[in-house]
């Protein structure tokens, strides 16, 4: 299947993405979304796992999509920690909180974009096309 974003996404090397979410249903859907846009996708269950991965020098993703509410380490703490480790890739947050205060709080943590759940093709396309 050709990527809907055109040949740039299918040339030479596919970009890699990481989905971090404690909900298995959301994880599989987000993975499907990213596959649709041509990404190679890995998944983790919690913010602490992605931080541990990068601290061990094993994190090398072009894009991270993270849930903001997770049991052990939430998306804000994970994002702050990743940015303090020098992680420069695009980080997109997905949250069920749609108030302006929460939104500002999340973006100040170092996210590039924040979406109100659920994430879908339309929302992700607008974000990836405005790179």
């Amino acid at each position: 299947m050709a990527s809907p974003l055109g040949s740039s996404m299918t040339s030479a090397k596919r970009q890699s993405a990481l989905v971090v979410d404690d909900d298995p249903v959301t994880r599989i859907i987000t993975r499907g979304l990213l596959n649709y846009f041509g990404f190679e996708v890995s998944t983790l269950n919690d913010g602490i796992e992605v931080v541990n991965m990068y601290e061990a020098g094993k994190g090398h993703f072009d894009l991270i999509i993270t849930d903001m509410e997770m049991p052990v380490m939430n998306g804000i703490e994970a994002t702050k920690k990743l940015r303090s480790l020098g992680v420069g890739c695009k980080i997109i947050g997905v949250s069920s909180c749609d108030d302006e205060t929460s939104r500002r709080h999340f973006l100040e943590a170092g996210l590039d974009h924040l979406f109100y759940k659920p994430l879908n093709v339309t929302k992700l396309q607008s974000c990836l096309e405005n790179n």
Partner: protein, 154 residues
């Protein structure tokens, strides 16, 4: 009208009714977009996982709310309902999601009676959407078995 056309018409009418009745919202359509030749069973895979996950959450909620008022672990209830709200929202099960929103109001107020009412409502809505989706998948199987393609809804 041949059998494939008949089944396809039945499929479209049935799926339209699910949207009209508010059982499904646009998010389900978005998930259907992700199914293609390289991922032909995507919707079925996602929905099956939703069923498995939901039944665990309902079981855990029933246990958490089966104790007396003084011993209800409302944090556990919150965790289950939050996850259920997220997963139902992700697949487009709109009415299930909406009950989860009301459910939160009850456990925030530590209203056990309200929580038990919401638990029953969320169970009713979940089993309704589950039955409807299973009927939808049976229609898909019949269309494919008859040599037809599953209609794409706009």
């Amino acid at each position: 009208m041949d059998i494939v056309n008949q089944l396809q018409r039945q499929y479209v009418d049935f799926l339209s009714s699910l949207y009209r009745e508010g059982l499904l919202d646009d998010q389900f359509l978005q998930i259907q977009k992700l199914q293609d030749e390289s991922n032909p069973d995507f919707v079925n895979e996602v929905v099956t996982l939703f069923f498995e996950d939901s039944e665990k959450l309902l079981h855990n909620l029933a246990i958490a709310l089966s104790v007396d008022q003084q011993h209800v672990d409302y944090q556990k209830v919150d965790a289950c309902v939050h996850q259920f709200k997220g997963s139902s929202s992700s697949i487009g099960a709109q009415r299930v999601r909406n009950i989860c929103v009301s459910f939160r109001t009850c456990y925030d107020a530590k209203n056990l009676e309200g929580c038990l009412r919401c638990l029953q409502q969320v169970k009713d809505e979940y089993y309704l959407v589950k039955n409807k989706l299973q009927t939808l998948f049976r229609l898909e199987q019949q269309i494919v078995a008859a040599g037809g393609a599953i209609p794409i809804m706009g």
